[in-house]
């Protein structure tokens, strides 16, 4: 038994490359993961061929003894093809389970051929089957990893976009800024909001800032802390800060929590806050005619 551990597997792959692809496709159909609704027959076949080609190349160069590491350079091709195929499939709506089953379906045709090839020595057959199992499993786990990474990138990007979108500082009038806060105010967002606000105060030479929390669902001690810190920083810059949009519900909660707003002015609506702010910078809102 001088032959290397991969010899039988390679023989199988070399002698019946086409047959394996066809049977792999067959297993996929049987498992219900071929998704003919998303991929044409030719596309599926091309994907499978590319994958199997990279797979056999990996086995030829990347397995020493019975050990392999999918992170090695020899598996570059397979990883690249796998990444491409996964991305393509995921973008068309294939689930991770389907993707893993799709890869695992490769086992059956390989096992069948190994069995036919090695009839005499069962220990060799078991060794080969074990190796194929480990390879294909690693292969399937890697697709899942790609899938998760892809998702994580999307989540990251969206979080970043949300952070940028959710902190608009609007100039209401000369030297009057407003910051409509919507959603929840966690530490990261509070930091972003504060920096953005202070920078805008500097740029616009604003004298009054209205922080409107009408869109903030709940105010707990932490959110209040963030708001008051922002207000304190605004004051240190030399502008005045008004917190508006404090609903009766929020007012009650704040008192019950024992939150002291100190010298920061608070208003129930942005409407009163605006007229106060305009007064501070020297304007009044006046009615015209008798309408």
């Amino acid at each position: 038994m001088a032959q290397s551990a991969t010899a039988n597997i390679l023989t199988v792959l070399d002698t019946d490359f086409k047959g394996i692809i066809e049977e792999w496709l067959g297993t996929q159909v049987k498992e219900g993961v071929k998704r003919s609704d998303l991929f044409s027959d030719a596309e599926s076949r091309a994907q499978n061929r590319e994958l199997l080609k990279a797979f056999s190349k990996g086995i030829r160069d990347g397995v020493t003894g019975e050990d392999f590491d999918l992170d090695d350079d020899q598996w570059d091709d397979l990883r690249a093809v796998l990444a491409d195929v996964s991305r393509e499939r995921v973008s068309r709506g294939v689930t991770p389970t389907e993707m893993a089953t799709f890869v695992l379906a490769l086992k059956a045709p390989l096992f069948k051929r190994l069995e036919a090839l090695e009839t005499s020595d069962h220990s060799v057959l078991i060794r080969d089957v074990m190796l194929v199992t480990r390879l294909v499993d690693a292969f399937a786990i890697y697709t899942n990893e790609i899938f998760i990474n892809e998702r994580e990138q999307i989540i990251d990007r969206q979080r970043q976009e949300m952070l940028e979108l959710s902190t608009p500082v609007v100039e209401l009038w000369d030297r009057v800024l407003t910051l409509p806060l919507i959603g929840t105010l966690d530490s990261a967002r509070a930091q972003e909001v504060m920096e953005n606000l202070l920078q805008t105060i500097l740029e616009r030479q604003a004298e009054v800032v209205i922080m409107d929390i009408t869109g903030v669902g709940t105010v707990d001690t932490q959110v209040a802390q963030h708001l008051l810190r922002a207000a304190a920083a605004v004051r240190l810059m030399g502008a005045e800060c008004i917190i508006s949009g404090i609903s009766p519900m929020i007012a009650q909660t704040m008192v019950q929590l024992g939150i002291d707003v100190g010298t920061v002015s608070t208003r129930s609506s942005i409407r009163t806050a605006l007229s106060d702010a305009l007064l501070t910078v020297g304007y009044v809102i006046k009615k015209t005619g008798d309408q």
Binding site: I201, Q205, A232, A233, R235, L236, M237, G238, A239
Partner: protein, 117 residues
């Protein structure tokens, strides 16, 4: 010594521009000189221009608070003007809200507020 921080009379206020490279000794010396000047002249206010300050620590924050306290005892209001956003954030993070000082965006704003008093 890098240079003595100058104290200038503008209208009825003392203007002090604090430089970024001010040392701890200089700032203490400034506190002493400023107290004397407030007592000598009839002054309504003190304007501390800190627009050149890029970094603050608790020491500088405390000295600013003390300057405000001293001038208040001598019947003058202290205005801190031109604080940079990063400095404001740092002070807040250090928990120094400096409630005893008045702030203004710029020298012009501080003078306008002093005239109103």
């Amino acid at each position: 010594m890098a240079g003595v921080t100058s104290i200038n009379l503008v209208e009825r206020a003392l203007l002090v521009s604090i430089q970024d490279d001010i040392t701890d000794t200089e700032i203490l010396e400034l506190q002493d000189r400023l107290s004397n000047r407030i007592a000598q002249n009839r002054i309504d206010g003190v304007i501390l221009d800190i627009s050149a300050l890029e970094i603050v620590d608790t020491f500088v924050g405390r000295v600013i608070a003390q300057l405000a306290g001293i001038s208040k005892l001598l019947a003058a209001e202290t205005y801190v003007v031109g604080m940079r956003p990063t400095v404001a954030v740092t002070l807040v993070e250090l928990g120094m809200y400096l409630p005893e000082i008045r702030t203004a965006l710029s020298l012009t704003h501080a003078l306008a507020q002093l005239r109103r008093v």
